[in-house]
Symmetry: C2
Subunit: 312 residues, 2 copies
Amino acid sequence: MKILISGGAGFIGSHLCDALIKEKHNVVVVDNLLLGSVDNIGHLIKNDMFIFYQEELLDYESINDIFCKEKFDIVFHLAANSDIAKSLDDPSVDFNNTFLTTYNLLNLMKKHDVKKIVFASTSAIYGDTNKKIVEDFGPLFPVSHYGAAKLSSEAFISSFCENYGMQAWITRFPNVVGERATHGVILDFIKKLRDNQTELVVLGNGEQYKPYLYVKDLVEAIIYVWKNSDEKINYFNIGVESRTKVKDIARMVIEEMGLESAIKYTGGSRGWVGDVPEFNYSLEKIHGLGWKAKNSSDDAVRLSIRKILGKE
Amino acid sequence: MKILISGGAGFIGSHLCDALIKEKHNVVVVDNLLLGSVDNIGHLIKNDMFIFYQEELLDYESINDIFCKEKFDIVFHLAANSDIAKSLDDPSVDFNNTFLTTYNLLNLMKKHDVKKIVFASTSAIYGDTNKKIVEDFGPLFPVSHYGAAKLSSEAFISSFCENYGMQAWITRFPNVVGERATHGVILDFIKKLRDNQTELVVLGNGEQYKPYLYVKDLVEAIIYVWKNSDEKINYFNIGVESRTKVKDIARMVIEEMGLESAIKYTGGSRGWVGDVPEFNYSLEKIHGLGWKAKNSSDDAVRLSIRKILGKE
């Protein structure tokens, strides 16, 4: 099968490339290298099953040429802004990189008769709620522009599926950690501690309590959902049942770096506007389909710290 | 209060102008007259409380100039493509006219520190479901691009409210009928019968059973919601409890035109792809707020036919 992976040189995308090539698929990556890096896919460049285009997904004509040439069976669309906090002052970041990339791809799929899309969505579409978040949760009022752009993407995926006989697998991720990550709390803490070993300043009160999923578990889940569900629109929360507090992440990073730094909290229940302090993410649907994460949230955080520090 | 009404020369927008001017507000209309018409606002042009700009909402610089000059207190955003069936082959119609207009307005509101938006949303965001549609319904998988574009608009309204201290009143309409309508089943039937008085061809089996809300009832509801709710994001289904079958609309149109035409059904439960044959729209929330439609669905249809035919 010939697969387009948008954002395939990115954090999650590059792990997905590894997994799909291992399954003997032909993988074509389109990535603008804004957040992605050739370092992430360097080991694949000489593989016959792998093609890389450094191209801007918003450049309709260039991507059209790639669709003409490659004749894809399916699109895995992962390209997006992935730094939620960064776009809060500038909605155009997520409008362009998270939403418009999806809309352009859908139009190209329609034009080139590509009928299947696997989409990287997010728990951020659900907004800030204390209720149990099942897949059918409503209302959907996202807090961040990132969540808004992903919800908008889902909306048009839905209308394209309905009107043009397409089929979609929508996988909604929580926080994902692991090697090749470009941002996030673990990298932040490592960077801060490299700048100042005596004190680590943590945004919020450290009580933010979230599930962190290891990237290879996530990739396994994406592929599992695609292979094991066959509705017109298949939509699943992906995650891990356990959670980790920000203050425990801080502690683990300090420990793995061999430091004895003090931790200073700025206070407040949110690290930044748009941050969702705690949520209750139902995984019953994907567990019912037969998939569970191998690594707990704590294990995922610990493993990621060690991988990022080059200790594993 | 100085109010911008986008799409104020359109079907619903022009009725909203009438109502807000009656309440002594200063009304500024921006409309590209693609679907709107000066005929709808001709009676207001000489009113000191009314200003009309024929301008394209997608033209950021021109609309920016209007924001600079007029200093709005609030935006009522009604501009959109309103012909759902028309855009099915061309997603760009709703992407541009229904979604991008919203996104541009939100950015201009942010820039000019306008903090309040009343938004014309739609039952089409809920997609095709047999379940009772309460406001908190999920999942949201719209069938039409129109529904997708309105859901995308709601998504960014939400993230703008959260991040820039804005407040929103989201009113979700069902089918709306009345004088000044530009399309819809009543106008279709009248046009078809003017072309051929002997036979009326009806798409589907005529059993599509929907609520039709009279436009002046709708406008009253929009203003009522705005005045009587004060959350960050206020969201309400607007509608009428009773419903009318398409075959009864056909019968009423034939009757009011003084004809004895035969009715021929093309068959199938949907008039067109994206048409939602029947739905069960909960109005408990708006009834709880204290508003109910004055006209039943049948009365609304009958009244609209008579108004459009110039009989009232």
